[in-house]
């Protein structure tokens, strides 16, 4: 299933946030969206998943999601959004219960996703007992449980420290190599973008527009921390964004 955005614009009152965004998200690829803070990249992600509606333009699903897909467009949030009163297992089962998946069928799915995210030993733990990295892995397990056609990741690693971030990036890459998934990955971290993105969409400052789309050909599993060609790409991206970021930083927050 592909996603196509055509002519998406958005404004709050008379304040323009996004301007004429057209973008293809092809199946089985990871598209990273980077941009200075306040360029509307998270808003764009909410449009793609239907949590918000753009004032102009449309977001299209092309093709039908696979049959066993319970929730085609599935988010992974920056703040994990785990229910603190449910165990790891309970948090995953939450999203299955509404689809009438209970008992042995649910157990099988939960065991599978917890094993894939290396959480099998922590099924009974409560979120308060987990580290940030583990919390995000629970959120990833929960997303995998509904077998999404497209994963929508909103700065999923931004709340984590840099070592945990490296580890989780490796986890994401190995998950993708095993079964390639489609993903839109919003981040302000260029290192994450060059490690995980098949293509990187660089957005400009408010009103957010697409400035450039950079394609990276190197396979994900061959990208390593500190690769010189990736550094080169990262430098190029930074040079695209640098002035914008400086200007965005000097802007007053619009409430």
């Amino acid at each position: 299933m592909d996603i196509r955005l055509s002519g998406v614009s958005h404004s709050y009152d008379d304040f323009e946030v996004l301007q004429d965004i057209s973008l293809e998200i092809p199946s089985g690829r990871i598209v990273c969206i980077v941009g200075p803070s306040g360029c509307g990249k998270s808003t764009l992600l909410r449009f793609i998943g239907g949590l918000e509606q753009p004032t102009k333009g449309e977001v299209l699903q092309i093709g039908t999601p696979p049959k066993d897909c319970l929730n085609p467009l599935t988010y992974i949030f920056q703040d994990f959004a785990l229910l603190p009163w449910r165990s790891v297992r309970g948090n995953v089962s939450l999203v299955l219960e509404d689809h009438g998946i209970r008992g042995a069928r649910a157990d099988a799915i939960i065991e599978d996703v917890l094993a894939r995210t290396k959480l099998s030993d922590f099924a009974k733990a409560l979120p308060k007992q987990l580290s940030g990295g583990m919390k995000q892995r629970v959120a990833i397990a929960r997303a995998l449980a509904v077998n999404p056609a497209v994963m929508l990741m909103d700065e999923p690693l931004s709340a984590l420290d840099s070592q945990t971030r490296e580890l989780l990036m490796d986890d994401l890459i190995s998950l993708w190599t095993r079964t390639p998934f489609t993903a839109v990955y919003v981040t302000h971290n260029l290192a994450e973008a060059v490690r995980l993105g098949h293509s990187i969409v660089v957005m400009s400052r408010r009103p957010g527009k697409i400035r450039e789309v950079v394609h990276l050909e190197k396979p994900l599993d061959q990208r390593q921390y500190g690769d010189s060609d990736l550094e080169e790409q990262q430098k190029y991206l930074w040079q695209l964004m640098r002035e914008e970021a400086r200007a965005a930083d000097a802007e007053l927050v619009h409430v």
Partner: protein, 280 residues
């Protein structure tokens, strides 16, 4: 490898040249509640002992304060005559029925206010208008509406617990983390599932702490309700003792109310420990 040798420590200067060393003063204490369970008990014991000594030695007259040991004796008589249970059972029944009615309606209305903006617009001003009314003032009205016997007492207690419960509940629902609700929507959870599995558990801490206040109010209103046409009940017992100026019995009754309050608070703490063990 010779160039990797650790740099030589400079030889110690004579102490006269060294700057004075002083321990950094600690200033991070306080503002962190620590549980000291026994201090509470000690305060009670201290006050009661003081009263006992005072009344025995005569610097507290028996008109000012009854002797604690006499109060205890009265309490013993009350217990052995079986009257304690007669009064307590009637009162507990009233408290239980009234508070259960008030709290459950209160939680229901509070959740509705939290979830539907029309209900909020309609009922928040009404609750604000009802809250400050001293419910005791409405007792005659309740007697006409619900009869002189149990009905009016249940109604008074229920009404008194209802308003604070409503306010606490909708506040708690408002405070549920929006990002969790958004998560529920993003996984296509039904509206009912979101309310049952995200909003209600998320509001539970606020609802329970509201219940603490509501139940204390219920005990206050219990006494008020028993002012009128009640033969038995802790409130009736206290009022009778008060009108006879029988301080021992008055204090015995008041002590029972206090114990009731402590009991209720303990029950809520127990529920909190069971239900809210997920909190940090």
């Amino acid at each position: 490898m010779s160039d990797l040798k650790a740099p030589q420590m400079p030889a110690r200067q004579s102490t006269a040249n060294q700057p004075k060393a002083r321990q950094v003063t600690f200033r991070g204490g306080g503002f962190a509640p620590v549980s000291h369970r026994w201090i509470g008990v000690a305060v009670f014991v201290l006050l009661i002992t003081l009263a006992e000594i005072g009344t025995r030695q005569g610097w507290i007259t028996s008109l000012t304060l009854p002797r604690p040991s006499d109060v205890l004796e009265t309490f013993g008589e009350l217990y052995s005559s079986g009257l304690l249970w007669t009064h307590l059972s009637v009162s507990l029944m009233r408290l239980l029925v009234g508070a259960a009615l008030g709290a459950s309606f209160g939680v229901a209305v509070g959740v509705m206010i939290g979830l539907f903006s029309y209900v909020r617009a309609g009922l928040v001003p009404l609750t604000a208008a009802l809250f400050p009314i001293p419910k005791i003032a409405l007792l005659p009205l309740f007697v006409i509406w619900f009869g002189i016997d149990e009905g009016s007492k249940y109604a008074l207690i229920a009404f008194g617990t209802f308003t604070p419960t409503v306010v606490a509940t909708y506040g708690a629902v408002d405070n549920v983390d929006r990002s969790l609700i958004r998560m529920g929507q993003s996984f296509n959870l039904s509206w009912f599932s979101i309310v049952r599995k995200i909003v209600l558990p998320g509001a539970m801490p606020g609802i329970l702490s509201g219940l603490r206040i509501s139940l204390a109010i219920a005990i206050i209103l219990l006494v008020a309700a028993e002012m009128l046409g009640a033969e038995h009940g802790i409130g009736a017992y206290i009022l009778e003792a008060g009108s006879l100026y029988d301080l021992e019995r008055l204090f015995a009754g008041v002590a029972i109310l206090s114990l009731l309050g402590i009991g209720m608070s303990a029950v809520i703490s127990l529920i909190e420990r069971r239900l809210l063990n997920w909190r940090q």
